[in-house]
């Protein structure tokens, strides 16, 4: 079946009630505040690698590592999930043309806000300088663990809300295919829900009672393994909302079409299946886990590269359709014809470009023994600032350039500044990553207050300088972004926001008969995923449990 099809129902328009828009807005604002707070220390870190110490200008900060904890927690945990909670709820509701539950929306917001406040209290009062990985036996105050657990629970409530809307729609539309946008939005958060269970067990079941003194000893390898059980999939939980935008919204913004309905659904299902059973590739250098298990996770990590390859083709094809419609000719002539004056689209196109390097360096991280050369060197933050730190961050910035006007019904305050922030970030992150990656290959360690380290190699100097220059540009960009968003909220022209989200059409309609209908059976795919997880993690836990609870807590910071 081949016909241009909408990925939402009632294409004529659908408006979410104002109270629900407000709940989504407030959730996003928490994220933008977190991002802005988090990048201040990002600047301090980047400059530290360049040999410049600006920590004395942060009198409230007790140590570099307290600031590093703020940077990680605020930017990758708070910014991302406060966005996804709101964004995926919105795309699901819009796609199905139904309102969400207002009560659940505010419950999710409240959990996010309270969780954030507890975590902020713990970190700001210097009771939780454990970095976002929270590796035991470094022991944080219980408010840190409970606070982050509440942030996770807020994502579960958001998923529950989306799931209830989908269920109600399916009841009323028995036998119909799920609209594509709702399908991929829900799959993204279903994946995250399953992925988040190990860290919930670790934070609520082990680390909190240990922090409260209810249990005396902790198992460092077990809690670390539970962290990475969630911790690789979490990067896909950050990435998939960006992919939702790339697949389902960006084609419309560029003037093109999403090329295939089934193909898009298959890509998201592959992420659902393969994101979680890959965590040991973060633990290649850990003792206590057999090489065989690590090899299995290595192969599966190579597998999860496949849906990203497929995404590269599909998204590029959608953009090519757009560029050719706009008069682009020749092999690459369609690229300059894209509407580069649109800051929302430009930010996301630049995000895609950085992700090429992010993906390639990620494959190297996953490469078993090769990982030993770069593990815990600055190569790693070099890599992930081109994935989470730009493929995701720049996409979320780009989405904000239409989403905030849409939710507030105010025009974007300055298109030029918005464009500038996207380009400055893009240039900044590439310079930064070039520095971190080259110095990392020479052994420069990550997570280290380098400006105060008594050891240094001359080979690290150039990489450190580039890190400092790039990081400064990224900081400037985020400050511009914050100004644009704040000014849009308070000064943007009223009534000038877009009336609808920029949903695309697909070139082919979803099949109404045959095997493709199975793509909508989310329960079936969840079951398949659980089987894969059992294969990938089962042998380790059967062999390792009940664990080795041998370490008392340490809080020396």
């Amino acid at each position: 079946m081949s016909a241009i099809t909408d990925i939402v129902v009632n294409p004529g328009g659908f408006a979410l009630p104002e109270t629900q828009r407000r709940a989504i807005r407030y959730s996003l604002y928490i994220g933008y505040f977190a991002l802005t707070a988090g990048v201040f220390h990002g600047l301090a870190q980047a400059l530290s690698y360049a040999g410049i110490d600006i920590l004395r200008f942060f009198p409230a900060l007790k140590s570099y590592y307290q600031g590093l904890t703020v940077h990680g927690v605020a930017n990758v945990l708070i910014f991302t999930f406060s966005f996804s909670n709101g964004f995926l709820s919105l795309t699901t509701a819009r796609s199905l043309g139904r309102s969400l539950s207002t009560g659940l929306l505010w419950a999710s917001f409240a959990l996010l806000a309270v969780g954030n406040a507890l975590t902020a209290y713990a970190v700001i009062s210097n009771r939780a300088s454990v970095l976002y990985t929270s590796y035991a036996p470094l022991q944080a105050h219980w408010t840190y663990y409970i606070g982050l657990a509440l942030v996770v629970v807020s994502t579960w409530v958001a998923l529950l809300n989306m799931g209830l809307v989908l269920r109600a729609w399916r009841r009323d539309n028995a036998g119909a295919r799920i609209p594509l946008l709702a399908h991929i939005s829900v799959i993204s958060y279903v994946m995250w829900f399953l992925a988040s269970l190990p860290i919930a067990v670790s934070f609520l079941g082990l680390l909190t009672p240990w922090s409260l003194g209810l249990i005396e000893f902790i198992d460092p390898l077990l809690t670390r393994t539970l962290f990475w059980f969630t911790g690789h999939a979490i990067v896909y939980a950050w990435l998939l909302p960006a992919y939702v935008s790339w697949y389902a919204l960006v084609p419309r913004q560029a003037g093109g079409l999403l090329i295939s309905d089934s193909y898009t659904r298959i890509v998201f299902i592959l992420f659902l299946l393969l994101s979680i059973p890959t965590g040991f590739h973060h633990q290649y250098t850990d003792p206590g886990i057999s090489e065989g298990m690590k090899a299995l996770h290595g192969v599966l990590t190579f597998g999860v590269f496949f849906p990203s390859l497929a995404t590269a083709f599909s998204v590029m094809a959608a953009l090519e359709i757009a560029g050719r419609k706009r008069g682009g000719r020749g092999l690459l002539g369609w690229i300059p014809k894209l509407p580069w004056n649109d800051p929302s689209l430009t930010a996301q196109l630049l995000a895609m470009l950085t992700f090429v390097f992010g993906g390639a360096t990620g494959l190297i991280n996953a490469s078993f023994t090769m990982n030993q050369v770069i593990h815990n060197t600055t190569w790693i933050p070099g890599h992930f600032h081109m994935t989470i730190g730009s493929a995701v961050a720049l996409t979320l910035m780009g989405v904000a350039f239409w989403l905030i006007p849409y939710l507030t019904d105010r025009g974007l305050w300055s298109r030029k500044l918005a464009l500038a922030s996207a380009w400055i970030y893009f240039v900044g992150v590439l310079v930064f990553a070039r520095g971190m990656i080259s110095a990392g290959l020479q052994g420069m360690p990550r997570r280290t207050y380098m400006v105060q380290a008594p050891y240094k190699l001359a080979e690290w100097e150039l990489g450190g300088m580039l890190t400092g220059i790039g990081g400064t540009l990224m900081f400037v960009s985020i400050m511009l972004f914050f100004v644009v968003i704040a000014a849009t909220i308070f000064l943007g022209k009223r009534g000038d926001g877009p009336a609808d989200i920029p949903w695309s059409k697909t070139l082919t309609a979803p099949a109404t008969a045959g095997w493709e209908r199975n793509l909508d059976r989310i329960g079936l795919w969840v079951f398949a995923e659980i089987v894969l997880i059992a294969i990938a993690y089962g042998p380790f836990f059967v062999h390792y449990l009940p664990g080795r609870f041998v370490s008392p807590g340490f809080s020396l910071w």
């Binding site: 460092p220 003792p287 886990i289 190579f302 020479q442 380290a453």
Partner: protein, 155 residues
């Protein structure tokens, strides 16, 4: 579902590339004997100072051209901090932590492992040329983490 032939070709090339990379890694591991740390035994971190071999950290010769280096990581130093080994010898590092998680990385080598309390880590390496390497703790381990390092001299 129709998949365009360009797309099929693109994905096929991608998959072949992944298989080639995985094959190279399998060869490095099985054919060239490069290994990751695995299961090398457990220890009670509260008793490391009195548990062999960590009660006596240091370098010892264990064969005609083979050495063992026992290293203990603790806040915020390595014992021993200065290690000397001969070039060309097979050197096995055996290490653990007395308190929190530490890192153990020799720059510009693939000797890179985590020192996790309760677990014993092991890595074997042959230094081909004389020179110096830093032993870097690359995992955050508290306030003075950045001051935790050692040195390997290859003679």
């Amino acid at each position: 579902m129709k998949v365009h032939h360009y797309e099929k070709a693109f994905l096929a090339v991608g998959v072949l590339l992944l298989i080639a990379c995985a094959g190279a890694l399998a060869y490095a591991s099985l054919g060239m004997g490069m290994h990751l740390p695995g299961e090398h035994g457990v220890i009670d971190p509260k008793a490391v100072f009195s548990t062999p071999p960590f009660d006596n950290p240091g370098v010892r010769q264990v064969g005609p051209n083979a050495y063992e280096v026992v290293v203990l990581g603790q806040m915020w130093s390595f014992a021993p901090a200065e290690i000397t080994v001969p070039a060309g010898a097979e050197v096995t590092f055996i290490a653990t932590s007395a308190d929190v998680i530490h890192g153990f990385h020799l720059d510009r080598t693939r000797v890179n492992m985590m020192l996790i309390p309760g677990q014993i880590a092991r890595a074997t390496y042959r230094f081909e040329t004389p020179g110096q390497h830093l032993v870097i703790c690359h995992e955050y381990c508290g306030l003075a983490h950045h001051a935790m390092y050692g040195r390997v001299t290859v003679k």
